[in-house]
Symmetry: D2
Subunit: 134 residues, 4 copies
């Protein structure tokens, strides 16, 4: 399935004294991308968590920083499902500056589906198509 695009603008709070975006914020942007991925596929992650008690626990995250994002730049976060399994999901991401297309970073997160007590579980069938599970 095609990547889903989310847009955000770099906040002053996200910069550090190097004059660029502090690197941990890219993980937050990936989360923004993930949520918009779900929304584009017809799932509101909030409801999945609140109503069905399904948590998408992060078990691994990584990010490669290509070019620093700067204050007030507009960023496009492209998100796709890299691997999908009823118990596990991997998302891939590419973040780019909107006006020039300059790639800022690429990343990946791996998740387990968990219940409210954070015990691993299988994703209920009704949600599987959204993540490209056969």
């Amino acid at each position: 399935m095609n990547p889903v695009e989310a847009r955000l603008r770099v906040r002053y709070a996200e910069t550090d004294q190097m004059g660029i975006v502090y690197h941990a914020n890219y993980l937050i942007w990936m989360e923004v991308g993930r949520v918009e991925y779900c929304r584009a596929r017809g799932i509101r992650y909030r409801d999945m968590e609140r109503e069905d008690g399904i948590l998408l626990a992060v078990v691994e995250a990584n990010c490669r920083y290509v070019s620093p994002a700067l204050y007030d730049e507009e960023v496009i976060v492209r998100t796709w499902v890299a691997q999908a399994h009823p118990r596990m999901l991997r998302f891939g991401y590419e973040m780019a500056e909107a006006s020039t297309g300059r790639v800022l970073a690429t990343g990946e997160t791996k998740h387990l589906f968990c219940d409210r007590e954070r015990r691993p579980m299988k994703l209920p069938a009704k949600y599987r198509a959204a993540f490209g599970m056969s």
Copy 2:
């Protein structure tokens, strides 16, 4: 009652591109001060929240910035109870650079005691002495 002191060191993540600590972080430091205030008075805020279901909801916060905190400086957060009432609590704060005593900021937060559903409640009697309530 005397102020309680907490110490922390400025993190790179807390700076912004002005080369100083981003102003919203002082509210986080006040929270650090609050928790240490409670601990010094024999209360672990975590347990108050988890075991007795008492939340200290923030209803007002303010901060006056006197001198910017810089990366890697050690900061002392002094916290005291400015006003105490079974339904309401106000904390006062002074933040200073540890080695020179340079005042960085002063602030205040106002809180309501709430139950798990965030409904206002009276603080149970057993906790009142810690906050200087008669």
Copy 3:
């Protein structure tokens, strides 16, 4: 002058274990509002800082929390100039949930115009109209 509206969506990272937005984030949202205020008045704050070396240093911030913002809600930040003077600026803010209009918080920040060395200065004449200075 009329308030300027900025929109944002609550991020998971902005929530805390109370299940609501952590209170320090509202100061970050006010900053988002401020930047959009400037943009709507024809000023890109980034350029004011980078090209003309004018910093809008925060000297005071306060926030009154009315109703908690929740994860994934859309928030409107309304920003206006509460007081303007060539050396000082006060912004007022109201934050509301977009779909219902529920007020989340109101706040205020006070700023001094500073040069790159953070020394107070007068705002150059060309910028004054944007902030409603006569």
Copy 4:
């Protein structure tokens, strides 16, 4: 060389509505670990950056989440140099809950030494021993 230990306490601001520490914060803790690693080896990273204009730019970060950190827990961050080269440095990290030794996460960051304009450079000889470069 042996790992260097840094200690920190989980802040309320670092939790999310899942009731655990939000995953991006572990990257901030790694940064805390890195700075203490440098200090233990006789280098104040702040001075290296400020006085010698050497930046330790992050080019890659990854984290594996083993067991969630909870509010108010004390965390030990163990940091070591995983690979060192005059142009590049990799740090390894293990984060554990202090009272029980429960492992929370492990991670790695890769850095390039850069000058003030963020151009890659070789680390000056005087700093090399601290990072175990021969």
